[in-house]
Structure formats: C-alpha cells, structure tokens
C-alpha cells in the first residue's frame, strides 16, 4: 500500500515537473508513467480517462492525477498523485512570488519583468490562435465568437455567464 502511494507520488512528480507549457505538455508524460512504466492501466483505459477529464472544466493534469490515483489506491492514492503533481511547482512559485514582493523596487527586476511581458502576451495570443484552429468548423461558431466579443466589451458581461449561455445555445442548436 505504502509503496503504491510512493510510486504515485513519484510518477506524478516526475511527469508534472518535466512538462513545460502547462497541462497539455504534461499529458504525454503522465501516459509514459501510468501506461508504460508502472502499467497501472492500458492504452485504452488511459484514453477513456482522458476523455472523461476533457469533458469537465478546470485544469487537465490535476484531474488526470486525481482520477488515476483513485483508481490505483482510493482516496489516499488520489491525494498522493495530486501532491506529486502540484507541490513541487507550488513551492517554486511561492519562492519566486516572495522574491518578487521583496525586490519589487529593484530596477533590475522591473527591467526583467518589463522585458518578459510582451513575450507572455504573445504566448497567450498563440494559445488562442492554436485553439482557434479547430474551434470554428462552421459559420455559426464565428457568429458565437462575434456575439461573445461584443457582449464582453460593450455590455461587460461576465465571462462565466457567457460560457454558460453558449453551452445552452449549443445544446439547443448543434444537437
């Protein structure tokens, strides 16, 4: 039992902390650990797990970790896999955040942040572009995007509301 929890912790710590670029970069690494290295599940079972977590909102990697951990060793397995996934980077983030707060008046740090901000803007724009590639299969989806843009900017509609409304619309129209 303990060895299983330890394996889960290590497997997910390894997968998550070598994947740069958020959840999507982590998924193939989780597959290597769960399917190939520890053989906790087959390829098909991994595909099913991925299908389930993709349907639900929120970050992918933590859902996958919690789900696989639960399948292997119940709730404690779920917790073990989650800790492996988030704890190392959480500690690193807090370390950097504390550093950022402490030296927020330093001209060097200000300069570094000023230099990196445009890169972050481009990376986010790139995400939108990549997701956009297969999000507009027909004219109606362009219409949805246009309405979203207008209501967001002129009517200041909360994004969460927009998401709920669009899903209801899809349920009624695209079915």
């Amino acid at each position: 039992m303990f060895i299983q929890l330890w394996d889960l912790l290590i497997a997910f710590a390894r997968a998550s902390n070598f994947g740069f670029g958020g959840g999507p970069a982590v998924i193939p690494l989780i597959k290597i650990e769960a399917v190939e290295r520890y053989q906790w599940m087959t390829d098909a079972q991994f595909a099913d797990a991925l299908a389930v977590v993709n349907v639900l909102p929120g970050p992918i990697a933590t859902k996958l970790a919690g789900y696989i951990g639960y399948q292997i060793a119940g709730w404690s397995g779920s917790l073990s896999a989650l800790i492996g996934t988030i704890l190392p980077t959480v500690i690193a983030v807090i370390f950097l955040t504390a550093f950022l707060i402490k030296y927020s008046d330093s001209p060097i740090l200000k300069g570094m942040l000023k230099g990196v901000r445009p890169v972050i803007v481009i990376l986010i724009a790139q995400t939108a572009f990549d997701m956009g590639k297969d999000s507009f299969p027909n004219l109606t989806t362009w219409g949805i995007a246009l309405v979203a843009l207008v209501t967001l900017n002129w009517f200041k509609l909360h994004p969460a509301l927009l998401i709920v409304i669009s899903m209801a619309f899809g349920f009624l129209v695209f079915r």
Partner: protein, 187 residues
C-alpha cells in the same frame, strides 16, 4: 481575514469550474476574478504572475492560484486557492466517471462543447489584447513581441527560452537605467 480567504476560495472555484479546455481556458476567468472583480492586481501584475507560472513546469492554473493566493493571504491563501481550483472537478471526476464515460460521446455534450469553444478562444484572445494594451509601454516592447511571434511561427524553439532571453534583455536594456526613467506610464 476569513472574508479574504473566502473570497480567494470562491474566486478560484468559479474560475476553475467554468473553464472548459484545461488550464489555458481558466486563465481569462482567473483574470476576470483577480483583476476585474476583486481588484487584487492590475493587468501588468497579472502578466507578471503569468510570467512566473510560464517559467516553471507543470499545470498553469495551480501555479496562478498559488501565486495569487500567496499575495492575498499568505500560505492559508495558497491552500484555499488550490482547493478551490482542484477539488470540485476532481470529486466529480471520481464519483461520476462511469456516467461521464457513458455520455462523453453523446451528441448533446459534444454540441455544448462545440458552442463553448469559440467563446473560450475569444476570452483568451481578449486576455492577450488587454495585457498587451497595458504592457507594451515602449517601442521596444513591440519589438520583443514581434520577434517572439516570428520565432514561434517559424521555428520550434521552446517558450521557456523566450521567457529567459526576454528577462535577460530586460535586465540589460531597461534594468540599468535610473529608476525614474523606467517607471511605466501605462501606455
């Protein structure tokens, strides 16, 4: 203090549990809570939070939650932000996985996800636009953006390299000037 922790918790529950499409889809919703609703930070600080998160490996949403939670309420803030981000959907995944698996191919679910995707794209593009408006404070910012975009398009260099080299560039070019000269004028 309790009020603050509750706000942090609820903000991340809302952001994470309406973001369809993984971590990146959650980013605009985190911005809606942290910048627009609770005014915990401005656009530039949000961009800095994203810079820290992108410079490290692992899922984005939990790193953003840790950073914002810590700034607002220290370690307890980190814990509640992470619980809000991770726990609700995880419980649904574990308890309802059999049902979800049965319906993950259903036309109703597919129709809903098909309609939400353009909205997610607009939200993410809007986030990039708003951050850009506030953070392109100098002509050289546009230069950095253009070079980054070109390199992403034409090469397959890893994003971490862009982050590291832009920081180095910022240190050398902006970092050495006197403090008064680099105070951002927000445009």
């Amino acid at each position: 203090m309790f009020k603050k922790l509750w706000d942090v918790f609820i903000a991340f529950v809302r952001a994470s549990n309406l973001g369809f499409g993984g971590g990146p889809a959650v980013v605009p919703l985190i911005k809606a809570e942290a910048v627009d609703r609770y005014h915990w930070m401005d656009e530039q600080e949000f961009a800095d939070a994203l810079a820290i998160s992108n410079a490290l490996p692992g899922p984005i949403a939990t790193k953003m939650a840790s950073h914002i939670g810590y700034k607002q309420a220290g370690w307890p803030g980190v814990v509640v932000a992470l619980i809000g981000t991770v726990v609700p959907t995880l419980i649904i995944v574990i308890l309802l996985s059999n049902i979800i698996m049965k319906y993950s191919d259903s036309p109703e679910l597919k129709a809903m996800l098909k309609a939400v995707r353009p909205v997610v794209v607009v939200l993410i593009a809007q986030t990039a636009f708003e951050m850009g408006r506030k953070s392109f404070s100098a002509l050289s910012s546009w230069g950095i953006a253009a070079v980054t975009a070109a390199l992403i398009y034409f090469t397959s260099i890893h994003p971490v390299f862009f982050i590291a080299s832009a920081m180095l560039f910022g240190w050398i070019v902006y970092g050495r000037r006197k403090k008064t000269e680099i105070v951002d004028k927000n445009l």
